[in-house]
Assembly symmetry: C2
Homo-oligomer: 371 residues x 2
């Protein structure tokens, strides 16, 4: 009976955490609630953004003296060290919380299980692992950053029914229905720190890669715009260089000289990072990801084109993908995936998380696993 | 006010008609109801299968003397000639029906508007065109047969996320989740008269193309199994030739001799039809469709492989398509569509009618239009 209530309250904590989806980096999302002995919710809180109060603290402060003896449900292990705010474990001990239920431990090896140990040492009953998988999945971007030291990578591609991303002339402006475009801006681009395209996409489509609100106005916090351009072919008149909102980062080959162009790009505020080439398939994406991690990128959205998407899939570097499958049959050579062949029993697979119908397309999205 | 009730009652008539979906060939689906002056439904009926009573007749007989002065709603123009049953217009006149509301006229040029004229000549008020589009769409298979003298063509294909229908070794058994397989058998194959594959599919997958119930048992009425085999390469030990349920029809090139094999196939009850070759792309599909029409096929399901599906799409001969998009990325040369390239503004497009999620795939289906 009590067990079931634990799950129920933790589900609430996770749903509180989700309110700040895509807004807490470099911190994780956390939700918390206090429940009294009669199983009534006393107070709730969630972490809104880096620098603001932690979820547990909000809940405890709201509850005041009613915190004493109450049970705290929190979706992530409370912090035990000084960051921008004092450690939450101190707050929990001071408030005389009776019991703490935690969904998952801090993925950071430095803090892993530390908060739990401190609380137990103080004689507080601690239960760990209620809705563990959900809580871990919630903070997968944060965890990957900490554990793997590379950004979490999402792919986004618009395909025809037959797997092409452009027609015979390279035209690809087909996600034209306002509902799909709005979804891309509001739900996909707005939750990432950086958007990446290959130089082919810049030359063919000349996108500005900026984020607009529903009225078409540029929003304040723009993601970093990243271009893979091994030969530094980017035209100086590209839209991406003209649009002043949002920084631009170009990855090029260490072998590429073009001193004058490098200087001109730098003069315009563009950052250039030299990367080793990975066989014939272009820049070494693992090194690119490591460099992006050092730039503070938690969540990278790769928008194309074909060879960039193919390289991420082929090398097993994609964590998630959004595929917008349009209503057309196109034929031709502009395939979304043109990398090496896989066998059915060992290929990149999507574990579907969402499926949506738009006017002229359906979107299917999910985790990408290589099994 | 009365107008709105007309729509409401006609919607009911169409939904009655749909109860016999896929079961009325060579007849259309028809639903009918009788409504009294107080707008109450007196009786309902629908056409169950060829040879059984027409929808109007069932409704009138159920109503008995209450038919007098009532309004008849019928989704298709009542027949005016002797077929397997006497003309419905006579029954309507005899029953002294007061008013007749019809969704759409008979698509057969011989009967088009004839029933309406007879009823009006008898002084019965007739209104035509209520929910016309819905009623026409309902009987699109029947109408195409009558108007174009070729079967209605549906395609079915299982694709990877990147538009492949098999992996590098040609393996394609991936719609393996029982829910998707059951849908194919119960909802797609069971509503067609014939299933077609190319010889490549026979050689690679060796399917039996039979229809099974949910317990895996072969059902009684099997669709005609059609193979496009221009060189008569079909192995005599193919499953399709071994399974006794369901007739087999092979289309081959008029140029193919292979007298001995022809004789052996005929001895086993296989029908062989010689067809002219259409350029380098194999047999002339228009002639194939005309021959299938003469064989009494109303609804053809084309199941693959790549070159057959491509030819139907390329030549604009597909009316409908079911695409099962799996969760895999495969790469390689086994593309679902490898025909000529189209431009975005002029290509085969799907007008989506349905989208369903299965365990490992999503299905999107709809009308195929070439615009």
């Amino acid at each position: 009976m009590i067990k079931n209530r634990d799950i129920e309250f933790m589900r609430r904590a996770i749903s509180l955490a989700k309110r700040a989806e895509g807004k807490t980096a470099p911190n994780p999302m956390v939700g918390a609630l206090l429940v009294d002995k009669k199983q009534r919710i006393i107070s709730e809180g969630y972490h809104r953004k880096a620098g603001s109060k932690h979820a547990e603290v909000i809940a405890i402060e709201k509850a005041g003296i009613r915190s004493k003896g109450a049970t705290l449900y929190v979706s992530l292990e409370p912090c035990s060290s000084y960051g921008k705010t004092p450690p939450c474990v101190d707050k929990i001990i001071d408030a005389k919380i009776g019991r703490v239920v935690i969904a998952t431990l801090d993925p950071n090896p430095k803090n892993h299980n530390k908060g739990v140990r401190i609380l137990r040492r103080e004689g507080i009953a601690v239960k760990v692992g209620v809705l563990k998988e959900e809580a871990e999945y919630l903070n997968r971007v944060f965890s990957k950053h900490i554990k793997n030291s590379i950004p979490y990578v999402s792919l986004k591609a618009a395909l025809s029914l037959d797997g092409r991303i452009a027609d015979s002339k390279g035209t690809s402006k087909w996600i034209s229905s306002p509902d799909a475009r709005e979804f891309v801006h509001k739900k996909i681009r707005s939750e990432v720190d950086a958007i990446m395209v290959g130089i082919g996409t810049i030359l063919k489509d000349d996108p500005s890669l900026t984020l607009r609100d529903s009225k078409g106005k540029l929003i304040k916090d723009q993601p970093l715009r990243v271009v893979l351009d091994s030969d530094l072919k980017i035209p100086l008149e590209s839209k991406i260089l003209k649009s002043k909102k949002g920084a631009v980062l170009i990855f090029t080959s260490i072998k590429t000289k073009k001193k004058k162009k490098r200087a001109e790009l730098k003069r315009r505020g563009v950052k250039i990072i030299d990367i080793a080439v990975y066989s014939c398939r272009g820049l070494d994406l693992k090194r690119v990801l490591k460099a992006l991690y050092r730039e503070g990128v938690f969540h990278l959205l790769v928008e194309g084109g074909s060879s960039v998407l193919s390289s991420f899939l082929e090398r097993g570097l994609a964590d998630y993908a959004y595929f917008f499958i349009s209503n057309m049959v196109l034929g031709g050579d502009y395939l979304m995936y043109n990398g090496r062949e896989f066998r059915l029993n060992r290929c990149p697979k999507m574990i579907r998380k969402d499926c949506r119908c738009f006017d002229n397309s359906i979107m299917v999205s999910g985790d990408i696993v290589n099994v």
